[in-house]
């Protein structure tokens, strides 16, 4: 499972960074989204990967991480998703405004003369 997850994170991050370096705003925003998926998976994986671990403690059990999944990365990833979602939505608005105002969807450049 570690291998699959690391490959998934790696592929997402790699494609995200490639798209991020592309000239057009739409590619950049998709790149940012992919990158944030990669980061979210990465945060999630820092709690340790386990199959079938209980989400919370059973009654009367000792509080040790051997018995249940680490809840903190899950809380972190939830927060990160919400914040990432909001900021991406904001970026989308700015992207559209920039497209409307400048007449081009280049991040930092101009349309090549055809």
């Amino acid at each position: 499972m570690e291998l699959v997850l690391s490959l998934a994170i790696g592929v997402l991050a790699g494609s995200g960074i490639w798209l991020l370096l592309r000239p057009r705003t739409f590619q950049v925003i998709i790149g940012l989204s992919l990158l944030s998926y990669a980061v979210n998976l990465f945060i999630f994986s820092t709690g340790g990967l386990r199959t079938g671990a209980a989400a919370i403690l059973e009654k009367g059990e000792m509080g040790t991480l051997a018995r249940y999944a680490d809840p903190l990365p899950q809380a972190l990833v939830l927060t990160a998703i919400v914040i990432g979602f909001a900021t991406t939505a904001l970026l989308l608005v700015v992207l559209l405004a920039a497209r409307g105002l400048t007449g081009t969807d280049h991040v930092d450049g101009r349309e090549r003369d055809r």
Binding site: L72, V94, T102
Partner: protein, 527 residues
């Protein structure tokens, strides 16, 4: 438990929420609320500064959970100092905006309050993840403020600003999660305690995580080569927004100070001083780049943006040396430069008003957003109180800004640079890096003098304004206040420097911080 510590976060939050509910229907109420909140923050910050000036840090546990499980807010000297700077700059910029800018687009007031809330939260929080959350609150508000007034230049610069910051936030998250994965904690004090016992094979990974985190902070602090976004964004932003944005780069500096000194301070085991030289070198490169930018630009707003970079570089270079006295000097420099650059950003608009360039931009935005009715009302307003000899006043303020930014005596800019350099060039053999730092500080000061004088001659002598700019008291008063505070800093440098030295001591030997945060949880309650 006393709730004063959390008040600087709650007050602007409530004010912002109330403003959204009120909407644009009663502008008077919104303005009154904003003023009350800004002044309240100044009062709170002064109170908290008084309370924080003690060896013990004040810890606020949300929900009264022990520090290891719950969220803590920590108020120490550094946090209190930053809170006060934010409050003063916020109040000044807000007052300035009331003259006209707050009407240039929707939702300026709530955004401004949330900006203050995010800044205050970032300075108060005691754990890394909430630092991220407050960074995001602050950034989200700053995106709105940077775009305030709209227009092609702002949207274009804002787009770059948002993308760069989103990437930096992702790096922040990666750094935080690496650190959590290895140490199992996000509380900064707890993390500092665990630094000693990190397994040797994990240490490199932990340092890598901290380095990635550092990149996120340094992007905010605009260290070369991470700071190219700064100048265009600040130059394009509306005047009061730019003044507030100028303290955002200091948040990066604060985070470096706090996290780096805590994690890689005296308790770090083998990692003591990790990356310090790199921070100094980066700072020096930033000074060089910023100084060239200062000399190269013709535009006053870009000049101010470049000055922000120079001040960031100076701070990083001084902090990276890892000496207590140099850090104290850096804190003094930070205080001065926040006030001076804030005042300079506000001043630029007034100076340019006579030159019609700035007026054009303003006219365009007002055309896009202002309704006819408002414009009539403004015409009356703009007659305002014409201060006699307003150009003279502007010239004097400009001169004061020059002295402060260039670090010339007798004002506090000079004292700050002196306070940074004198401990570095003290007894014993002086390392080569300190000489380089000395050269960089002197040369950057020279560059600032040359650029500011050139700009000043251009504005006030060579092409005198076609009409004497009409300046309202409400616009010049905040600038005067900020500059007066700088003069007061110069006059009262002794006590202020004493405070900075205590702050630096506590930062470099964080026993009080660690003890305060990790102290035994409150007595068990009988259930």
């Amino acid at each position: 438990m006393d709730h004063l510590t959390i008040a600087p976060i709650v007050l602007p939050m409530l004010a912002g929420i109330a403003m959204i509910l009120i909407g644009d229907r009663w502008r008077g109420a919104t303005v009154a609320l904003g003023l009350a909140s800004c002044l309240g923050l100044v009062v709170l910050a002064v109170l908290l500064l008084g309370l924080a000036d003690a060896p013990v840090v004040r810890v606020y546990r949300l929900g009264d959970w022990p520090a290891l499980f719950g969220i803590v807010l920590v108020l120490d000297r550094l946090s209190a100092l930053m809170l006060l700077l934010v409050a003063i700059l916020g109040a000044a910029a807000f007052t300035f905006s009331l003259a006209r800018w707050h009407r240039a687009g929707p939702n300026f007031h709530p955004l401004f309050q949330f900006q203050l809330m995010g800044l205050n939260g970032a300075f108060l929080t005691g754990d890394l993840f909430n630092l991220f959350v407050f960074f995001e609150v602050m950034l989200a508000a700053s995106y709105g403020l940077a775009l305030h007034g709209s227009g092609t230049a702002r949207v274009r610069a804002g787009l770059h600003y948002i993308i760069v910051n989103l990437v930096a936030s992702l790096l922040f998250l990666v750094g935080v999660s690496v650190i959590y994965g290895i140490s199992g904690t996000l509380n900064m004090a707890d993390l500092a305690m665990r630094m000693r016992n990190v397994a040797p094979e994990d240490r490199a990974l932990l340092e890598a995580g901290a380095a990635i985190l550092g990149i996120a902070f340094l992007t905010k602090a605009a260290m070369w080569p991470l700071g190219f976004w700064l100048s265009p964004t600040y130059a394009a932003a509306s005047t009061p927004a730019a003044a507030v944005l100028s303290i955002l780069s200091k948040v990066g500096i604060y985070a470096v100070l706090r996290v780096w000194l805590l994690l890689f301070g005296t308790d770090a085991g083998e990692s003591i001083g990790f990356g310090g030289t790199l921070i100094t070198l980066g700072g020096l490169a930033t000074i060089a780049f910023g100084s060239i930018a200062v000399l190269a630009t013709q535009n006053l707003s870009r000049l101010a943006g470049a000055s922000v970079m120079v001040s960031s570089g100076t701070l990083l270079a001084a902090i990276g040396t890892g000496q207590v006295a140099a850090t104290a000097g850096a804190l003094f420099y930070l205080t001065t430069s926040v006030l001076a650059i804030g005042a300079f950003f506000l001043l630029i608009e007034l100076v340019e008003r006579g030159r019609e360039v700035g007026a054009d931009v303003l006219a365009v935005t007002r055309e896009a957003f202002g309704s006819g009715e408002e414009e009539e009302e403004d015409e009356e307003d703009e007659v305002g109180v014409v201060i006699p000899g307003s150009l003279a006043i502007l010239g004097f303020a400009f001169l004061t800004c020059t002295l402060l930014l260039a670090g010339l005596p007798p004002l506090s800019g000079f004292l700050a640079k002196f306070a940074i350099l004198s401990p570095l060039l003290g007894a014993g053999p002086v390392p080569a890096l300190s000489w380089v730092l000395l050269g960089a500080l002197v040369l950057s000061g020279l560059a600032a003098v040359v650029a500011m004088l050139r700009a000043g001659i251009e504005v006030f002598w060579a092409s005198p304004a076609r009409r004497t700019p009409a300046i309202r008291v409400i616009e010049i008063a905040p600038i005067g206040l900020l500059l007066l505070l700088c003069v007061a800093l110069s006059a009262g440098a002794g006590p202020v420097m004493r405070y900075m030295q205590d702050t630096a001591q506590a930062l470099h030997a964080p026993g009080g911080y660690l003890g305060g945060v990790l102290a035994a949880p409150p007595a068990e309650r009988v259930r």
